[in-house]
Every structure is written in C-alpha cells, then in structure tokens.
C-alpha cells in the first residue's frame, strides 16, 4: 500500500506530439482514483508511465517515497489489468497466476497458497488447470484480476479492464472490483472512457482532456460543480444542456433572440448557460422559463427523455416515469436558480446561476429585438 505522487509529469513522443502536458496529482494511500476522458486525452499514457511501460519525458513519479522514473516495471511493486487481459495463452490459469511469483523466486508452497487464496476470492478455483481460451470473457477478466491480486502489490493499475465485456457483465464486474478494492485497501488507478464506470468506481475522479487535467474531485462534486463545459458534457448521460449566451445590453440573449437579464454577473460579455436534463421543471420556475418544442420523446421505462429545442438550441429534458408529451408539443420548462451553471466563453466555470429570467413568451421577445 502506498501513495502515488505525480509532479509535472509530461510525455512527449518522437515528432513532438505532447500526449501528457505536465500533470501533478497526489493519490492518497488506499484511494481508488479513476482517470476518465475521451480517447487520446492522455489517460492511458499517464497510467502506463506509472506502470513503467512508457518512459517519462519530464517530471517525477513517486510510489510511496520512492521516485520510480528509472525503475523497471517489475521493481515498482505494481500490478496491472489490461483491456485485453493479456493472459498467457499457452499457460493454464494456475500458471498465469503464478508466473510473476515464480519469476521472483518465491517458494513453491507460498505460491500455491497465494494462488489458491486469490482463486478463492475471485471464485475461479474450479478452472485453475484450464487454458484461457477455454474460459468465457467474464472468467478471463477474473483471471486477469487474479494475476494482479496474487502478488499483493502496493498499487493496482487498471487499463479499461471492462470494455471487452457485454453491458450486463460489465455492471456486475464493476461492483465486484469496487468491493474487492475496498476489502484489500490497495491504492488503485483506473482508466476508463466510460463516465458511468468512472462515477460509480471512483473515490476521486480525474477528468482529462487533451493531455491536461480538467478537474479533480469526488464524483458527485464533479457532477454537481463541473469546472468546465467539457466536464459538464462528458460527465453525466445525457450530458448537460449548454446554451450560448450573447451579451445584450444589461443582460444576455439566447440564440433565438430571447433576452435574459443578468443579475450580478459580468455584463457585456458572452457566456454559456448550462443545466442538467434532470434539473428541468416542467411548467417553468421563477428563476428561468423557456418554451420547449418537443421533437422526439423517448420513453425508457423508469424515465423518459424529451429531445427538442428551446431558446434556439438543442435541449434534452429528463422526466421521471412516463410522459404525455408528443412530438410537436410546446411545453413550458424552467430550472431552479441553484441548478443553473454559467461558463465563460473559454469553457471555464464562472459560478452557479442566479439569472432571474422574467416570465416572457419567446414570441414577444423576438418582436422586441
């Protein structure tokens, strides 16, 4: 068990491609940290630098008190679970689990003990002498996990370990990984592009984009207070609704011309207004009301999604249970003031919203401008 400290870590590939642009991160002992972001954001590169599979161009990586920049992966006391599991196809499950221990010259009895224990934890004891190709996807995943825990390393590294599983199994394994990490208490770094996986697994969420960290925080904190429009739209499904606001006199103007007065916000500057689909109140609120034109209604069962237009931009509204709304309907919608987010045109968060939009119909607004 150990802390992990990244200090100004950079990765520059030959040809001057900068995949990781100076990231600093303190990971507490026993923490489950999830690196999430779109493909190409540098999350896997960062993980592989912690593992020692990629050289570190600049900065330092510390595991515990030891700087590991120049240390071989095998010496870093880490274990890694790969996306394609990387099980040795010609070895039995037992041999797969024990290979790393044998290479370290561990005694046969202890190897056996450890393999049996890991197999019991993961419930793979009954196929220890099978080859990986005789296993199902979920079983292979467990063996890959087993290979990691059998070594009792200081750190677990996960590189999208669930993305080769079908949706149902993925959900199940997610719960198991979380429970396993809780019970072992091993510091873990987990890379995924799936925001749901990230939200449910993480103690600390690190949202990355374009080689930099966009936001670090607890999952709910990141969800409630996204630091940028990128985080706002990446975390949460469906993503946060974002409406561009143009400066107009003492207020703002939506794309369709609707005027919103600004109370206590930087005036004369364009901005971006955001609100989550589930924060929408049908019938409008005192703070903010708009006409919503339904284009598609998607009943999912427990909830329904209404896709349509409001204020001249595409909007998604989430409704509990069933909805009576039909394509072509016009509905009055609103959002409580505390649930509004304001971002600058650079995408950075400015504040929670306090825009009080007076209840005015869009038609009249259009006429005014």
């Amino acid at each position: 068990m150990a802390t992990i400290t990244l200090d100004q870590v950079r990765k520059v590939y030959p040809g001057k491609v900068e995949a990781v642009k100076g990231i600093s991160l303190d990971i507490a002992d026993g923490d489950f940290i999830v690196l999430v972001g779109p493909s190409g954001c540098g999350k896997s590169t960062l993980l592989r630098m912690i593992a020692g599979l990629e050289t570190i161009s600049a900065g330092t990586v510390k595991i515990g008190d030891r700087v590991v920049n120049e240390i071989d992966p095998a010496e870093r006391d880490i274990a890694m679970v790969f996306q394609n599991y990387a099980l040795y196809p010609h070895m039995t499950v037992y041999e797969n689990l024990s290979y790393g221990l044998r290479n370290r010259g561990m005694k046969r009895d202890e190897i056996d003990q450890r393999v049996k224990k890991a197999a019991a934890i993961l419930e793979i004891g009954s196929f220890l002498d099978r080859k990986p190709r005789a296993l199902s996807g979920g079983q292979r995943q467990r063996v890959a996990m087993g290979r990691a825990i059998v070594r009792s390393p200081k750190v677990f590294l996960f590189d999208e370990p669930l993305s080769n599983l079908d949706a149902k199994l993925r959900g199940q394994m997610r719960v198991e990984i979380k429970a396993l990490q809780r019970s072992l208490g091993t510091t873990s770094v987990y890379v995924t592009h799936d925001q749901l996986e990230a939200m449910t697994l993480a103690d600390t969420l690190v949202v990355m984009n374009g080689g930099v960290v966009e936001q670090i925080g607890s999952p709910l904190d990141v969800y409630e207070r996204p630091a940028s429009t990128f985080v706002a739209s990446f975390i949460g499904a469906p993503p946060m609704n974002l409406l561009p606001l143009a400066a107009a006199g003492d207020g703002y103007r939506l794309p369709d011309g609707t005027l919103l007065p600004a109370d206590g916000y930087p005036q004369g500057k364009a901005a971006i207004l955001g609100f989550r689909p589930e924060d929408v109140v049908i019938g409008g609120t005192d703070a903010f009301s708009l006409d919503f034109h339904v284009v598609v209604a998607e009943p999912v069962g427990a909830e329904s999604f209404l896709h349509g237009k409001a204020g001249g931009a595409g909007i998604i509204v989430r409704v509990h249970g069933r909805t009576e709304a039909r394509p072509g309907d016009r509905i009055r919608i609103g959002v409580p003031a505390a649930r509004l987010h304001i971002f600058g045109t650079d995408g950075k968060r400015i504040a929670h919203g306090h825009i009080s939009a007076r209840d005015r119909a869009t038609e009249t607004q259009a006429a005014l401008t």
Partner: protein
C-alpha cells in the same frame, strides 16, 4: 459446387487420377528397378513390375556401397545427410528466432541496417557466389567437416521474416504483462514467445529439413573425403558410374533411400508442411 454435373465430376476425377499417375510414375519405376538384379538392365527394357533382388540390392548399398566406383556405404551417407538436415533446420530456426526477436522487440541504432543485411541474403543464392564462398570456407579450414556442410547455409532471411511476422501478431500487452511479472527479455523469449510460436517452428522445421536434406551443390563442392558425403550429392557420383556399367538397380536403390526420409516427413506432417510452405512465402 454450384450445380450437379456428373460428367464434370467424372472428368475431374479422371484428371486427378492421371495426374497422380504421372507424378508417381518415375518413383514407381525407381522402386521397381531397385528390386531387380543388375542383369535386367544390360539389355531390353526397364521392368514395370517387381523383381526378387530387393533385399540384395538394398543390403549391398547400405552395407558396402559401390566402393570401387567412389560411393561409400549408404548408411554413412544417410547419417551425414541426417546431420546436415537437422543442423541446418535447427540452426536456421535458432538464429532466425533470436534475430527476429532483436528486430521486433528492441530499438537500437542501425536496427534497419541489420535488417537489410539479413534481407540481402535472399538475393545471393549459393549458386551465384560459388567460387568466393568456397574460398572462404577453404581458408577457414572447414572443407570436409560438418561445420563446413552446415554453417555457411544457416543464414535465413525467409525464416527471420516469418518469425518477425509471427512476433508482430503477438499483442503488445503480453510483453508488458510479462515485464510487470518480472520477466526479462530472455525469459520472455523462452517462456512466452517460443511456446507461442511452436506450430510455426514445427512447420518451418519440416520445410527446412527438406531443404537441408536435398542440398546438392554445396556438399558436392566441399566434401572430397567420402566420410562426409551426403546421399543426395553422392547420387551424382553413382550416376557417373552407370555410364560405364549399367548397375541401375543399385543406383535406383540409392535414389529410393535418398528420397525416403524427406518424403516420409512430408506425408506424415502434411498439415504442418502445407502451413510452413504457404507461410514462408507470404
């Protein structure tokens, strides 16, 4: 097939049977001839059916050879051929695996240069550089030795390419997992790469065994001591003998013995053989 055409099916069978007969004909004749006494070939025609001198002919060739005509007993020549075939096949595979491993899994200066040096051997068949190569081997004192018979032939661009191809298809994560599991390069080669390439190795071995066994010009050039004659090259010396004395029965017995090992290998390991052949040419 798309539709049922009895005549076409019959024709196809007829073509194939005819093809098999043509292909087998010379070998059939050789086997038959090797069972007749020498007198059969003094006059008349080559027989089409077996004679009764098989035991005698093969016994003479394996045990005594045609010593007076420059052909030692075949048993010794068969042994030399076996050594040559095994060493060439094993040697080519061994040095090609390590070369391909170096080229695929390491980055070092002049890596591509090394690759091209190996590649260029494809363009230099022994036949076009006979004299200077002979001279090198003579200068190194390797004439009339197993080393001389084998070492100059064990560089192999084809085998190196094949293993390079095989290694390229092995997922990167396997090497990474092995590194995290504490396996160094040689351990990775031994524990992971070689076991994963074993069918390729076996298939290649079949092809290279035949290649080594059937070597002709090279052993002919560098062996003057009959203790190092190989059977395929030795055939030439026997063929020269029949100009004076038509002892075709003995020559054909020798030919049959020379063909037998590689043919048995091909037939017994047909699947591996076809795989090896098709893959090395890819």
């Amino acid at each position: 097939m798309v539709e049922h055409r009895p005549f076409l099916n019959f024709l196809s069978h007829a073509v194939l049977v005819l093809g098999v007969l043509i292909v087998a004909f010379p070998v059939w004749i050789a086997i038959v001839a090797s069972t007749h006494p020498a007198e059969t070939f003094q006059t008349g025609r080559i027989p089409l059916w077996f004679g009764d001198a098989a035991l005698h002919n093969y016994g003479v060739m394996l045990g005594d050879g045609l010593s007076n005509m420059g052909a030692p007993p075949l048993a010794g020549m068969l042994f030399n051929s076996l050594v040559m075939a095994l060493v060439i096949a094993g040697g080519k595979i061994a040095i090609s695996i390590t070369s391909a491993f170096a080229i695929v899994y390491f980055r070092f200066p002049f890596r591509m240069l090394a690759f091209w040096c190996i590649f260029i051997t494809l363009m230099l068949p022994v036949e076009v550089r006979i004299l200077p190569t002979f001279k090198v081997v003579a200068d190194l004192g390797m004439l009339n030795s197993y080393a001389g018979l084998t070492i100059p032939l064990i560089a192999s661009a084809t085998a190196t390419f094949l293993f390079r191809q095989v290694f390229m298809t092995i997922p990167d994560e396997l090497a990474e997992a092995a590194r995290i599991d504490g396996a160094g390069p040689m351990k990775f080669l031994r524990d992971i790469l070689i076991p994963l390439s074993r069918t390729n190795i076996a298939a290649l071995f079949v092809i290279l065994f035949i290649y080594g066994w059937n070597q002709y010009l090279w052993p002919l050039l560098i062996t003057t001591d009959e203790g190092y004659y190989t059977i395929v090259a030795g055939i030439k010396r026997m063929a020269e003998a029949v100009d004076a004395n038509p002892i075709w029965n003995y020559v054909m017995a020798a030919s049959v013995l020379a063909m037998l090992p590689p043919v048995v290998v091909v037939v017994a390991m047909q699947k591996l053989f076809v795989k090896g052949l098709v893959e090395t040419e890819k």
